[in-house]
Symmetry: C2
Subunit: 161 residues, 2 copies
Amino acid sequence: MTDSIGFSDNERAYVNLARTHMILERAIQLELTRVGLTIPQAGVLYFLNATKVPLTPMKLARLLNRQPHTVSALLTRMEAQGLVKATRDLQRKNWVRLSLTKKGEEAFKRQLSVRTSLNATSCLSKKEIDALNATCKKLYAKGVELVREMQPSRYGGLLFV
Amino acid sequence: MTDSIGFSDNERAYVNLARTHMILERAIQLELTRVGLTIPQAGVLYFLNATKVPLTPMKLARLLNRQPHTVSALLTRMEAQGLVKATRDLQRKNWVRLSLTKKGEEAFKRQLSVRTSLNATSCLSKKEIDALNATCKKLYAKGVELVREMQPSRYGGLLFV
């Protein structure tokens, strides 16, 4: 079955998912703007604060579900802004370990003060959240499969399932 | 309850939704690259092909869930590429009506030949699709509410619920 503009039921479901993510992302970005941060920056601050072992840029890219070169450029900017520190590993000289600076820790605290939009799913019941998580898990695995088919070498080892 | 890196259940559900959209978007983009198109371009071609009445850039921005200035820049590029034609309305001179050129129609046909990733939700049951749509509807409405609270004047009239 197709709707008035020719989307199949499956395509319409994807379009719904996409526009839902886009509006929530816009809300989250508007909220973060109030404390001078962007969503990608907030992601970096979040993971660098949460990790128990120092992260490499590659590991961080996996956590953020972003491509390594994108994260690398982001880290360069955040280092210049004094939010993040990159240190060469003493044992493995070609490894870089990332950590938050004092300024980065302060930015992270500001970030924690604006998370209304990040909790938008609080309008859902526990059952709806569980169903959404289960559906996202299936769809994510399908997405990984599709990306791997099209870019087998590039994304083979980079994605979580 | 929070998980190992400090996300609440609600935040984790959003993160799952976001990463699911991101991986599917990457798959769709990889597929479109094969026919020389980007996702935003594909959106424009889709709606200009489907519409029964000529669209204005503002109306198109609403359909694409994008901000008007973003769509305006996209249309300028697509016009330069010969995919889209913008014609001044004869009755209302300050209105622009959009249509596909011959080249745009051909690009749209190529686009229709690559829609495996767009149909990724075919891995879900009818029941799961229905639940996903219902959940997205609630979350989208919540997102609109949040955005309106933060930018009442700018987005007041621009969003669908």
